[in-house]
Symmetry: none
Amino acid sequence: MTVHSAGKPDDGPKAADKADRNDKRERILSAAERIFAKHGFFAARVSEIAKEAGVADGTIYLYFKSKDDLLISLFESRMSQVNAALEAAIHAETNASPARQLHAFIRTYLKLVYDEPAAAEVLTIELRQSSKFMKEYDNPQFVAFLRMLGAIITAGQERGDIDPSIPSHVAARMIFGMLDELSLAWVLSRQTSISTGTPGTRPKKFDIVRAADWVVALVTNGLDRSLKEKSP
Amino acid sequence: MTVHSAGKPDDGPKAADKADRNDKRERILSAAERIFAKHGFFAARVSEIAKEAGVADGTIYLYFKSKDDLLISLFESRMSQVNAALEAAIHAETNASPARQLHAFIRTYLKLVYDEPAAAEVLTIELRQSSKFMKEYDNPQFVAFLRMLGAIITAGQERGDIDPSIPSHVAARMIFGMLDELSLAWVLSRQTSISTGTPGTRPKKFDIVRAADWVVALVTNGLDRSLKEKSP
Amino acid sequence: MTVHSAGKPDDGPKAADKADRNDKRERILSAAERIFAKHGFFAARVSEIAKEAGVADGTIYLYFKSKDDLLISLFESRMSQVNAALEAAIHAETNASPARQLHAFIRTYLKLVYDEPAAAEVLTIELRQSSKFMKEYDNPQFVAFLRMLGAIITAGQERGDIDPSIPSHVAARMIFGMLDELSLAWVLSRQTSISTGTPGTRPKKFDIVRAADWVVALVTNGLDRSLKEKSP
Amino acid sequence: MTVHSAGKPDDGPKAADKADRNDKRERILSAAERIFAKHGFFAARVSEIAKEAGVADGTIYLYFKSKDDLLISLFESRMSQVNAALEAAIHAETNASPARQLHAFIRTYLKLVYDEPAAAEVLTIELRQSSKFMKEYDNPQFVAFLRMLGAIITAGQERGDIDPSIPSHVAARMIFGMLDELSLAWVLSRQTSISTGTPGTRPKKFDIVRAADWVVALVTNGLDRSLKEKSP
DNA sequence: GATGAATGAGGCTTCATTCAT
DNA sequence: GATGAATGAAGCCTCATTCAT
């Protein structure tokens, strides 16, 4: 999840302009990410985002249609980065079993949360609101995300590796629910606020990366140990 | 989930006044529930809530300090009803194993979602925002919810029935994540708006009550079928 | 200025009712006096006055037409008490010169301010507003006050004791201006708030009763000492 | 009393912007002055001030923090103009006796009232309320005003020209009281509303400018003519 | 007469968005 | 393209007043 794609080379005057434009757009997105993470979407002020991005208020409207559009664009941007990272992780295990791909998916997702807490905070907290207050927003990247996860499960079910009694899209939802809830708990328990250095008073923090093992364990074997005999 | 007014008998004029007062308070809460479910907290208008409740705008402020307080009170009210129902379900299985209690917990929760979709919508969608924009709000009922779930798991771990390698509070979060995500998916997929009280048209995309079995299955045995042998 | 006329004897059931009624009316007035003094008319809440008076909000409207009427009635009540006290002071000096009557007037006025700071605060601070926001209010008691003062001056002018070059009603205004401004300065500099015991941070206080001598000195001889020879 | 913008020369585009800004600020202040004079502070509506100033409601909040701040800023602005005019008048008589400076002070003050009735009305009527309902407001310009007046008196007392038995700050208060009360009487007696800019109809009850002589007379020699012998 | 819960009109203020420069 | 001052619609909330009990 390498946000802030500043590494792209300029190769010509037009390209430079375009790079400038992309640069400014990305600066605004990244500022919005921090401000939304700090205050939440509704409490965030467009003028504060502009200030954080180092542009004038009006400039934002040269790049985004509205405040809503800014949030949607931020979703699209960050979710597509998430999806790209997840796809890469899966492709790295192309020949592995769906179960192993699923494990890679889970670990990669939580690692992304760890690396980009501001993005995670926005995705985790604002995603739901958005689906509510923006009826017309289809959230294609989130759909793609679920589809990717569902596809792994379907593949496993077809191979007989994964319990076929649960519809794959429901299983995908459940797994996403676990990941999302852990992300939320972790993000809100972070002791230092993301955007400012000021310490807050938040409960104990846990290791979100290590938590991947717990998710894998639950998803793989469940919690029941009463009568079962496991393979070593 | 009709716990309104907790069965206290009226025994005199004062009691009648109190009942009146509770009645109106509950009418406002229930109106807020529908309006928040319809528009979301931020887009909801206090005056629309008042109209829905059949009271004047100002009356709301006789019962709640502010719009924020109305949301918080709604959380408290509905979550405590949820907790009461869950506690009842667990107590009904006092002598059962923690695993069975866990199943009862899951089934009861999703049944409540089915019975009270508006409450579910508010709890599911607004809960996260609220923890963000209301820093000072402790959300004690949600903490109690998690504690109840964690206690079941801890008990199972102590008896050896439940995998002890996952911290119980993390396991509780994961299970809640599944339930919450399924609720969200179900609530948002309903085609007729909840806010109109007219029942009868529920073309939901999946059966949230049946989904309880899937959650139980996943939580109990996980998804992995590659090497395992199950009891029939 | 014996406010709270509680000393009137009851002499029959009807009289008792009437006394009751007057009592409650006066309790409300006196509560209003304290609350207006504490917060000012606009910031004062009718419900706080009711609470201070120990009656229900609605009861106030059995005795006064409106909040405005309450203020006007308070003016009338207190100013007529002031006027009565001033008239008494003048009558005590019926045979004295107008100049001496004027001195008595001044001393009595400032003594009343000292004795009834809450009344003084309301009269001093709210009187002006009232003449502004209540166009229809004639303020007859204040007119009577000025007339009384003007009459003394006119009498003195007719006897040749008082400089006839200044219209008496203008002289009356000037003298009232001095008294009013000193009252204001004194009332606002009081270190303990009138209605609550909580100490405030106010500048030095001076002796309002002693200040009467200064007013008398200025009104009598003016400030100029450059060329004049005074009688001892 | 046209001190708007203090004579600073424009010398460039930035300066023009600043002038624009000051212009609009002053336009709002002057609109507020008229509206406050017409209705009083509390009854005045921010939207009416905006309309009178020819700006949008929100624009007012670009220049002033709140309606309260608008009133305070108006005080500061007008009182500092008053103080500047008074200082100029005193400086014009630098070599004169304090007594003559005092006369200049009085005449200048009442001339200002005559020239700027709306400002006078606001200062006269709202000043007291403001010191009450805005506890935190120090009113530095009014303090400066009193200090200036007190300094003249102190100087006269030190030279032996002015009666030393009255504390100078008390004498200053008394003189201000006279001026203020005369202003009030004059301002309220004007039959045509100040707010309509139409001049020409001023059937005032007395001549406020001539009244300066009466104030001077009273302050200089007092009213007592009983035993005294005056210089012709 | 007394109560106090309920009313509802209306104001101050915010802030996303625009547009002249 | 960039700016940021100006806009003005719209909401939360207050509180004087009423009226059923």
